[in-house]
Subunit: 409 residues, 2 copies
Amino acid sequence: MIINSLLDLDLYKLTMGYFVFKHYKDVPVAYALTDRKKMRLAEIIAVGELIEELNHVMTLRFTKKEIKYLRGTNEYKSGMFGEDFLEFLSKLQLPEYDLSISNGDFILIFQGKWSEAIYWETLAMSILDELYYKTLLRQMTPFEQRVEYSYATLRLAEKKRIIEQQPGLKVIEFGTRRRHSHDWQWQTIESFMGLSQFAGTSNVKAAMDMDLLPVGTFAHELDMGVSAIFRSRLNRARSQEVLLADEIESIHKAHQFVLDEWWELYGNSLSVALTDTYGSEFFYQNFSYEDALKWKGVRHDSADPFAFGERTIKFYEDLGIDPKSKLIVFSDGLDAKAITALYERFFGRIGTSFGWGTNWTNDFRFNTLSIVVKLISAAGWGTVKLSDSPGKEMGSIEDIRLFQRLSRR
Amino acid sequence: MIINSLLDLDLYKLTMGYFVFKHYKDVPVAYALTDRKKMRLAEIIAVGELIEELNHVMTLRFTKKEIKYLRGTNEYKSGMFGEDFLEFLSKLQLPEYDLSISNGDFILIFQGKWSEAIYWETLAMSILDELYYKTLLRQMTPFEQRVEYSYATLRLAEKKRIIEQQPGLKVIEFGTRRRHSHDWQWQTIESFMGLSQFAGTSNVKAAMDMDLLPVGTFAHELDMGVSAIFRSRLNRARSQEVLLADEIESIHKAHQFVLDEWWELYGNSLSVALTDTYGSEFFYQNFSYEDALKWKGVRHDSADPFAFGERTIKFYEDLGIDPKSKLIVFSDGLDAKAITALYERFFGRIGTSFGWGTNWTNDFRFNTLSIVVKLISAAGWGTVKLSDSPGKEMGSIEDIRLFQRLSRR
């Protein structure tokens, strides 16, 4: 089976999972699969295999060893996960999924309590990825398969060669969600072992297996879920008529709540803020001097990274904060050349590290899959995400318009 | 272990083995390892591992299934191997080896009855090859190893692409003696499966495992051994003083004996004569019209193959034999480009097929091994080989001079 451990997911699912467990344990949510490329996946991947893999995940539990590993993880903060949460995890069974097929696409929905459904995201993505590439490989002879792996291996060697040339670089493996396969991801990580530039992996199981630093903070879903919950409360409290000003205030409050409670939970150690959920202009207009001063830095996840870096430096400078004391984690569609170019551009001006995904763990000659599993509703309220890249927006048309008004451009 | 079947050798060991069994069963012979590149192999390969592998071969016996496979092999001639020979093989245990180390080199000698010692050659070579490359690989990380295999795989794919473009080509896998490893040889063969250009393999075990045509005729050692035996008899019969003319006559007789008795044993099916044991000029001066007419063709194994092809065509034309009815098997240091160039040069002029060795089964980035295991004496008499390439001669200085006088240039 593809997933053989509930730890075979991104650390941010657990760091966000603890946040959610603390604040919104029983809030009903829904996640949905989106195939950005509309590849008619249901005509490629055998539905029986998908069901088998998803069902298998539901039989998995965090093992004692895995819980001990989480309890013992102290690079960020000793006892970063409370005993109540570890106790909860040790009993966790992932909630049911809803799978149907429509017009060649899989409709895959995960509904349940936020504290339980949250773990499906990268597990489901890893399953769909691997089934997809397995299906393509099955159409080849064993030799043709080896040729594909050989191309991928030599591309990997070339990446390593490029990265090795920059002694100060820090790269983190972020490829779980877009990996070619579990085994290949492990091999790509293994290939970078011992490199001073290799700073860790987002995959907790890989970190445990290969004694690496597990890396992750939070994702769009935290802002998206919390703002949906805030709006839902506002609307429930005020019955029908809600003033636009109140609505906007509640979104601002939700955004600040995430920052404040995240700091409360993990302090400085995981204080890297994702900037583009409502567009980075919104973020910089609302990221206070106090927060900017104490938070380690920000994460870039859409639009031009060079422009973002310049904008971020200017943001800190305008506040009188030395950018050299701050960090940008780049994590959007990186390859080795982009990484070294960004590193060189910002060297000596602001700290950088690089969350390197698809291009590291899945640089094959295949037509790549581009799927996401996104939080679509929380507390019965539709979620909204803008991002800095056109076309990556999510939510109802009205909601997107509303959120676009948040940043006073 | 590297060798797990006595069939994991070249077919010519068995076709020559049957010849030897018929005529020279108990003649004492010796084979010796030569490292053409003088790489001080004993400082690279662990002697303990070599001993373990050689000892393991001595525990092997032809299995019932393997004997049945040989009995049932009928592509050349039904019942090509006599029951007496198969009975002999089924009881065969390979004779002892003598291994010592001198100045960084392995001195590896196989002595015994010709009918028994004959089987060591490619088995010992395959062992030394694989131990050598294994040792190099052990000095690498798993990823570095995968990079080497990836290069080799892509080179193999490129070979396949080139060969596929020539529909009429016939290539035969001849790489057992210089293979990277057993497993890699099997993979290289597997990669060509289904290609109309792929006509078989010299490795009998590979032919059995993958249901291919096993291919092979005879090698230098047959001429070398038989001429040594003829000269030994002449000298024993005449005590000390042997006339040069008699000596030369005995070599000619030995050469003709091999041709006649080979035809007697296998008829037309395996009638491809190796031409360069005493230089191809000697061969063409002594290959009679009757033999030239009935034998399928000749095998090229040293010096310029294009010149050899032209010389061969002229030879047949001079005799009034249509070269188009004849075959040249090229088998010396071929690569995909040389194969297609030779094929194109001789297409429509003379038949061609290509025994493709090292470059097919062992095209890695490593410094390659270049070893041979050659018959050095038979019936107490030193063997001689000239070949068409300077530096490939074997034998005592006097003997080489004597044999060089054989062809009236």
